[in-house]
Amino acid sequence: MRDKSLFRRLVIGVVFFWITVFVFFPNLLVVITSFLKRNPVRFVEASFTLESYRSLFEPVFFQIFIQSFKNALVATLVCLVISYPFAYLLCRIRPSVRRYLLVLVIIPFWTSSLIRTYALVILLKGNGILNTLLVAVGVIHQPLQILYNEGAVFCGLVYTLLPFMILPLYAAIEKLDPQLVEAAYDLGAGRLQVFARVILPLTLPGIIAGCILVFLPALGLFYIPDLLGGAKLMLLGNFIRDQFLTARNWPFGAAASVILTAVMGIMLFAYYRSLKRFNGSVME
């Protein structure tokens, strides 16, 4: 009995300590900053104001938000569609080979994302590899202007975020008991039924995890869209960065960050609630 309470207390203690110290307090600083007034020299001064939040209700900010949201949503869906079959098929392979392949999936991402993006530029540019190939084969006659357009941005986003969908999906699909699937087939269910009624619900936690790990970072990503899209659009990431570094309007940047977090939080919460209703006890 003593062993139980010690381990339990230790674990809860570590978690409590770490999250309170390194997450709660810094974020509290952010929230406090959003209510302060801008000071041109000292970044902020200690006087309460709602000015920053008021200034957020501009059409510009909504446009920026919608654009970032759209990018993140499409990237997440594409990643999901590509990764699910990949993770599923990966789980069908022998365990020893499977783990090796999983590590192989992520090794390319241990190189700097900047030079990987430059490699994408070489691939997608006017006289680049893709265009040369397509012209040589005869599919097109003029090189496509993929680069510095939305197409290149989505390629870059999906490419960068793919492992963040594959790995959680793999972790969740791996525990799927093949015997359950066999049993469903034996009972006479068709392929679609087996997928919708057996496989999908059992792997749903993995799908949710993957979507979260892709969508949330994608909302804030701006470097890769800038490099591949030509920085013609302003995204949430640039917007907030500009407030902190260029305009030195910390309260405004902090307020934007708080609103962003709040909106994401509400969406997540609503999503979980609706899932609970449809799926019983999948979560919590």
């Binding site: 381990f7 997450v23 974020n27 999936v105 090794i107 994408l120 995890a209 804030g220 940047g253």
Partner: protein, 258 residues
């Protein structure tokens, strides 16, 4: 059956090609005479030679590997324990702490970087390797927690109950029952953390000290004048090294099993 196997191999192969294509381009261009990667001008090993002399770049690479190695292991340990705690134990503030884990993922990098720096200054921690490490662990944490939690939810609680009835303590339940079951998620979480830590720029920029240079910062700083192909050479070397290590450990594991 063979047709679906063919399709399965084809799809896996195609996605692997997609994942590796930019890396292959990168590797090929490390042998390109052209300095700017605009066109192929001939084979050369020049960049590898100058990489060998570029101590600043190599030091930064070693620093990044050290930070990524330590912080990913620590984040995986704390994150796994956190996921287990959130799932199994009921304690005060559980829901708040769980939401705070998500807040880390939702905050923009720059907000996190600046707020952590100010926090460290207020608390009086010297800005350097320690603060860098603490920050990296913090932003890797949610990725481990979410991955492990997704796996642990949906496990049959009766297995754990059975273990408890047989007299196992909390720690033993964790070590011998939960951990093996969670291993794929723990490994996935570790891989994600290592990847995140190796490539972080904005948070690291603010929380690192004047004497500790890390690789992603250095590479991003090169863009003003142009990223030299030495970086390609470095990435090729690191990739080759990693590939060899991973393959070796795979073969060794196979040997052990026999």
């Amino acid at each position: 059956m063979t047709r679906s196997r063919f399709f399965s191999r084809f799809y896996l192969g195609f996605i692997f090609l997609f994942l590796y294509l930019p890396l292959l381009i990168l590797i090929v261009y490390s042998f390109n005479k052209s300095k700017y990667g605009t066109g192929w001008t001939g084979w050369t090993l020049h960049w590898y030679r100058s990489l060998w002399d570029n101590t600043l770049l190599l030091d930064a690479a070693v620093n990044s590997l050290i930070v990524a190695g330590i912080s990913s292991v620590a984040a995986t340990a704390i994150g796994t324990l956190a996921a287990v705690a959130f799932y199994r134990y009921r304690f005060i503030g559980r829901k708040v702490l769980y939401s705070l884990v998500y807040v880390v993922m939702m905050s923009p990098d720059i907000v996190m970087g600046i707020s952590l720096l100010i926090f460290f200054i207020l608390v009086g921690l010297p800005i350097g390797f320690r603060t860098l490490l603490l920050s990296h662990i913090t932003f890797c944490l949610p990725f481990v927690v979410v991955t492990v939690y997704a796996r642990i939810s949906g496990f049959d609680p009766r297995v754990i109950e059975a273990a408890r009835d047989l007299g196992a303590g909390e720690f033993q339940t964790f070590r011998y029952i939960l951990l093996p079951l969670l291993m794929p998620a723990v490994i996935s979480g570790w891989l994600l953390s290592f990847t995140l830590s190796l490539d972080d720029v904005i948070v690291s920029f603010f929380v690192t000290g004047p004497s500790f240079e890390i690789l992603p910062l250095k590479i991003y700083s090169m863009v003003r004048l142009g990223v030299k192909p030495e970086v390609n050479a470095l990435s090729t070397v690191l990739f080759g090294f990693t590939l060899i290590m991973v393959t070796l450990s795979q073969l060794l594991v196979k040997e052990k099993k026999r």
